[in-house]
């Protein structure tokens, strides 16, 4: 028996952590520096506007911007908009990912169909899909339908191309091995093609969520009655530049939270990731 414990434990040893480069401050110092940089920028903004070097009409005032954000949260006015944008983003993401996986698998496994659709897919992908927004508003109205539709068209192609490529580039040895182990067509699909394509989907998760978010916000901006994009649209209409900036900051924070959530989910899902 080779159950030799010394042997069996010969797992590759990983370097514990990359040694800190010389002259590189620690993580705590770095965070402090980054926060400091933000404060300096805000202060510069405030000083430049107060000293009338920048016209306040176009650049707003950081103090009023944060007052506006505070009011939104204090009155609870913002939550319905945040919830709307979140729902649109999630729906666009889920529908886009599922349809992208389905189409990617189908075309990836059927070269004939793929060849047939090839020019159309290229054209659709090359088209700036944001211009579909107005059409979606005509089709699906001012509610969340049109925003989800726009997000789906953006997410779909990211996922579709990844899955398509994932299926095309399935490791031929793994495939041959599965066949030798007795897999039928359906089993090959569920145990080789789909997992292999999914690892590509995971690698594009951040991008997909970002796309869903862009679809939701741009859709709202083009015409809506709710959502963070709508807030900005409204503020713009009344020339309330402070509210516009406030909306942008809330959106950015929202995007960062979404991205962080994806990272957390990613860590839980991608266990046996190759590479």
């Amino acid at each position: 028996m080779i159950a030799n414990s010394a042997l069996a434990k010969s797992a590759p040893s990983r370097p514990a952590r990359r040694p800190r480069r010389k002259g590189m401050p620690g993580p705590l110092v770095m965070t402090t520096l980054q926060a400091g940089l933000l404060l300096v920028l805000l202060a510069a903004w405030y000083v430049l506007v107060s000293a009338k070097i920048f016209p306040v009409f176009f650049f707003g005032n950081p103090v009023q911007v944060f007052e506006q954000i505070f009011t939104w949260f204090a009155t609870g006015e913002i939550f319905v908009h945040l919830a709307t944008t979140l729902i649109e983003t999630l729906l666009a993401f889920v529908i886009g990912v599922l349809s992208g996986i389905g189409a990617g698998l189908w075309l990836g496994l059927s070269p004939l169909t793929a060849a047939l659709f090839d020019p159309y897919i290229k054209a659709l992908n090359a088209m700036p899909r944001v211009i579909l927004g107005p059409i979606f508003i005509v089709w699906f109205g001012l509610g969340i339908g049109s925003k989800v539709a726009l997000g789906v068209t953006l997410v779909f192609f990211v996922v579709f191309f990844n899955v398509f490529q994932g299926v095309r580039e399935v490791n031929p040895v793994i495939l041959a091995n599965a066949r030798m182990l007795g897999a039928n067509r359906r089993q090959l699909l569920s145990t080789v093609y789909i997992p292999s394509a999914l690892s590509w989907v995971f690698s594009s998760l951040h991008m997909s969520v970002g796309m869903a978010f862009v679809g939701a916000v741009v859709g709202e901006y083009l015409g809506s009655a709710r959502g963070v994009g709508y807030l900005i649209l409204q503020a713009e209409a009344t020339f309330d530049v402070n509210a516009v900036f406030a909306g942008i900051i809330v959106l950015t924070a929202f995007a960062l939270v979404l991205d962080f959530a994806v990272t957390v989910i990613e860590k839980r899902l991608i266990v046996g990731k190759p590479k």
């Binding site: 028996m1 080779i2 030799n4 042997l7 030798m180 046996g272």
Partner: protein
């Protein structure tokens, strides 16, 4: 076609290559060979990789194929597995011409073939899963096999968390758990260090003695081939590769692959086979030199 059976000095080696197991004196017709390459030719476009290869593996026999790198060893194994159809000739499995995949065979690939998204245990039981074995039973067998290849307690590891040697052992368990009658192995140990290699070779011999599979084993290491096999087949350098000689290995069993290399008979066989190979090796070398000169 210059297939010569070199008899050793031993009188026992004079008889034609026979399966290691004796099939009773009374049996009239010899059982059909596990594998028969019937004048197989394989071309890739204009390139003839294998030309008119004729060889066989008897039921329960351990046969090694030795040949210079790139000569077409993996190609022959792919043909035996049914993954590659020969351009000319036929491949017979237990007397039947093979159509499609070889369902009687397990194949240990030269390259890494584990699913990176499955743990060691799940990789090992993949074949049972395909066959519809109940999960609990499959896992019990899987853990048994992991223990057998020295990996008990490592079932939850993913391939990227294991060393190359560990992955090879998982692959070995994955292939053998399905209990195939024929085992095709493509340089399974060539990436391992000497100690691990000897351990795994002994392990393989022990498994083979227990289960009496028909094994077609590919290597470019002559010592490994001699110490494991009943018979060693030498391939010519490519292109148009074909067997040029075969040797019956009459070393006693059970063997210890490390110790058997010290015996005089092993050394004798080694020199015998090396003499036959030298010419081919030189030919391949010259061809490479010429290619470099161009």
């Amino acid at each position: 076609m210059t297939l010569a059976t070199h008899p050793g000095a031993h009188p026992g080696a004079l008889r034609p290559a026979m399966p290691a197991t004796d099939h009773g004196a009374g049996s009239a017709a010899a059982p059909p060979p596990a594998l028969l390459f019937d004048h197989v030719t394989v071309r890739f476009g204009a390139y003839t990789a294998v030309s008119d290869a004729h060889l066989q593996v008897a039921d329960g026999e351990f046969v090694s194929i030795v040949g210079p790198t790139g000569c077409g060893k993996s190609t022959l194994l792919n043909v035996a597995a049914g993954l590659l159809e020969p351009t000319e000739g036929d491949i017979c499995v237990y007397g039947r011409s093979l159509a499609g995949l070889n369902r009687a065979a397990g194949y240990l690939f030269q390259a890494d073939a584990l699913m990176p998204w499955r743990t060691a245990l799940r990789n090992v039981i993949t074949g049972l899963e395909y066959a519809g074995t109940a999960r609990a039973e499959a896992e019990r067998l899987g853990n048994e096999w992991l223990a057998r290849v020295g990996l008990s307690g490592h079932g939850e590891r993913f391939p990227h968390e294991m060393s190359g040697g560990m992955r090879k052992r998982v692959a070995l368990a994955q292939t053998l758990i399905r209990d195939p009658r024929i085992v095709l192995m493509d340089e399974p140990f060539s990436a391992l260090d000497v100690q691990t290699r000897v351990l795994m070779e002994n392990e393989l011999l022990q498994l083979w003695t227990t289960y009496r599979k028909s094994v077609l084993f590919i290597t470019h290491d002559l010592e490994e081939a001699i110490s494991l096999s009943d018979r060693v087949i030498i391939l010519s350098a490519g292109p148009s590769t074909h067997p040029i000689a075969e040797f019956k290995i009459d070393l006693e069993r059970p063997r210890d692959v490390a110790e058997i290399r010290m015996t005089p008979r092993f050394v004798e066989l080694y020199h015998l086979i090396w003499d036959a190979m030298k010419e081919e090796v030189l030919k391949a070398y010259e061809r490479n030199q010429r290619k470099l000169a161009d």
